[in-house]
Symmetry: C2
């Protein structure tokens, strides 16, 4: 059968990985797809260097618009990153009737609604498995594998850099800055790490996961985003003592007619499989009303794991491109006409449990006053311990876990607690999720 | 859009779960599939009882052939089990131009080649996500999510009954018979448990996984099958001391131009996520050359988890039924013309590491003789310890782990070891897999 002709924009880590795997597993892939999948044109700044990599049978352009305007091409794989030029290129490819595969989570989190609408209109597919959790086929699981379910929540470790840092902080008891420097030396963190450590990358992915889990537009603007840079080793240690580990979770949860969409450091029970996901690995838990909890684990980044998802999408599009558009898998899992513009709750309205660490004067009655304020706010205490006071010190710390409450309620209680003369510093406060069936 | 009309054969646990979830999540499912999915006819022995369950708008027949011959039906869901009548029904449905969804692993492991060939000829789909690992979308992951990869191996905990028994044996130090009785009382094991505990059910699933991982026909006849009924608590304990857990694994591994297909109790490193899969949960690890190892975890049985997969298949078929057959996902992941009749290696030719427990006379030189025989067979020892001899006893036990070797080679070495006058009983021998990237 005739080959599917592919154009590649960008020849960085993922682009080169895609070329390499397409070549190495050419036979295997053709046996599955029913026809060869061939990269025929690549766009990249340094043409001479690229030509040496791709060989003489692939055309190389400096101008990425050469790829999206090449009428011999059936699928454009956008692997360059960035949001403005990438948006223009993807939209032009779509208008030209080309299918698109993209690894660009920022692009979809920011411009997904516009891009998917354009794709509907043009009758083409925009596939994006590589945009979330690298090689793990989590988009496919949610969009196709769990279609029977009302999805209750999705919680994922979707950023390898921060998971590596948290794993190292826990194992070595080291501080954030020290471990970040190590991660940079090892190539697990960028020179400018803010995109990862501030949670932005994870929030892009959470945005996409929420959209396909609940059938809603992408709403990155409404996501609550907190990173890990202020996390202290002491809290990792105390959490462990209480049977929990701290992970940067991307969380999307259904709440009646609204959803929660948030990224922040989170205590999770150490006995959950998700808590054992260490180093740069990724994993996503999905809770559906019929299936219960399921988990998907694998490498979240890297040349070949990401290429695995790029090529899976190329094969999918190759298999499906002759199907009439209304019978294809909808971009956001639900038919475009059936999307629901669910309200994203502000962080104040989010429902979670909490971990609190309070520096207090070491004197009788302190704990009773804190407990009274929490009780008046209808916040139940689930576990509590007091650090053994050091000889001669007049201060100590109280560490406690609460049951679920609305965050605004907790904030109001904390204002009262912090106003107590015996409470000496602002509270350290972390969110906690049980992630139970 | 017009509803997709479905006929259900069998109204046991899975059939009732499917009806329940289809009704409860009717809107959610229609928003995804683009049209309603309606069960219009059910076949079951006890018609009166069934009619009360399904309500008056669903036809109930005692004869399952009423379902496969009902020309208003687009998809037949075979949820009755068994292999002979189920085979006839599925083949007749296919010949009648109906798509089929089946949860029946025994049927596919034994008659899959015939059934898929008939489906190709009739241009219909046979979907079987519920046949392996209940609600986990592992068939979809392998057939569609990992198409870029040359799959190196698949290793799964795919039988909840045996995993529950092994978890309990480890936690409580109890014997197989005692825990089996408990599992039966809890409903985790059948009155006649042989299908589960002897590994047959897991082998059916391994057979299907091997076929879609490697693109080969189903070859249940060539699978090596061992169950857990002879496993002793002592070995679970010793394995733990060495950093391993014992799981009943379904393993399909590529070996040059042949494959290994086997089910047996297996030592796996305790630090692997798979080792932490406890109770009746299922999980499957897949190693692909590009993606590395990935893992899929969830409930492997039960009414609604299995219904989740039945309905995912109904939605898939509903989405894809208008696509021309050559552009659908091939039944065994690879195009029928591209299947490879790979040789399944006999168990003697399988390559694994081993755990050995030897009862020996407590006297000097015993260990040296055993080590010499292993060295002569080119079998390296990876770890070893000797049980501290009990005061007054003249016997002790040597426990050792080896590096990889061909099983036939190990068997020949064991014949020599067991012939030593200082080796007092036949060796206890278990296979060990590292499951590394």
């Amino acid at each position: 059968m005739k080959a599917m002709r592919v154009g590649l924009i960008g020849l960085g880590t993922v682009g080169r990985g895609t070329l390499e795997v397409l070549r190495r597993n050419r036979t295997e892939i053709e046996r599955r797809a029913g026809r060869p999948i061939e990269v025929v044109r690549v766009a990249v700044r340094n043409v001479a260097r690229a030509q040496a990599i791709v060989g003489s049978d692939v055309a190389v352009s400096a101008d990425p618009f050469d790829v999206v305007r090449d009428d011999s091409i059936g699928i454009v794989a956008e692997l360059m990153g960035g949001t403005e030029l990438a948006r223009e290129l993807v939209l032009e490819a779509i208008r030209g009737g080309k299918h698109v595969v993209t690894a660009n989570k920022a692009l979809l989190a920011l411009h997904g609604n516009e891009i998917f609408a354009a794709a509907e209109q043009a009758g083409v597919m925009v596939a994006f498995e590589p945009a979330v959790a690298g090689g793990i086929p989590i988009i496919k699981a949610l969009r196709e594998g769990l279609t029977a379910n009302r999805i209750e929540w999705v919680a994922g470790i979707v950023n390898g850099t921060t998971n590596f840092i948290l794993s190292e902080m826990r194992e070595r008891g080291a501080g954030f800055d020290e471990v970040l420097a190590q991660a940079q030396a090892l190539g697990y963190a960028e020179a400018d790490p803010s995109f990862d450590v501030d949670g932005v990358d994870a929030a892009h992915k959470a945005t996409i996961l929420a959209a396909i889990a609940f059938g809603m537009p992408v709403r990155f603007d409404a996501a609550h985003v907190e990173g890990i840079s202020r996390l202290q080793p002491a809290d990792i240690r105390y959490a462990e003592r209480l049977g929990y580990r701290i992970k940067l979770l991307a969380i999307a949860r259904r709440r009646e007619d609204a959803v929660e969409l948030r990224v922040h450091p989170t205590l999770i029970p150490a006995r959950r499989l998700l808590a054992s996901v260490e180093g740069p690995m990724n994993a996503v838990m999905v809770m559906g009303d019929a299936v219960g909890t399921t988990l998907y684990y694998g490498k979240g980044a890297g040349a070949e794991p990401t290429a695995s998802s790029v090529i899976a999408d190329l094969v999918d599009v190759t298999r499906l491109h002759t199907a009439d558009p209304e019978h294809r898998v909808p971009h956001l899992a639900f038919q475009p006409s059936a999307l629901d513009d669910l309200k994203v709750l502000p962080i104040d309205a989010v429902l979670t449990s909490f971990y609190l660490r309070l520096r207090v004067a070491d004197q009788p009655g302190v704990l009773a006053e804190i407990a009274r304020i929490l009780a008046e706010a209808h916040i139940s205490i689930d576990a509590l311990f007091q650090r053994e006071p050091v000889e001669g010190e007049t201060q100590t710390e109280i560490i406690l876990l609460t049951h679920e409450t609305i965050e605004g309620n907790m904030n109001r209680a904390l204002v009262r607690i912090e106003a107590l003369p015996t409470v000496l510093e602002p509270a350290i406060r972390l969110r906690l999720e049980q992630l139970a069936d």
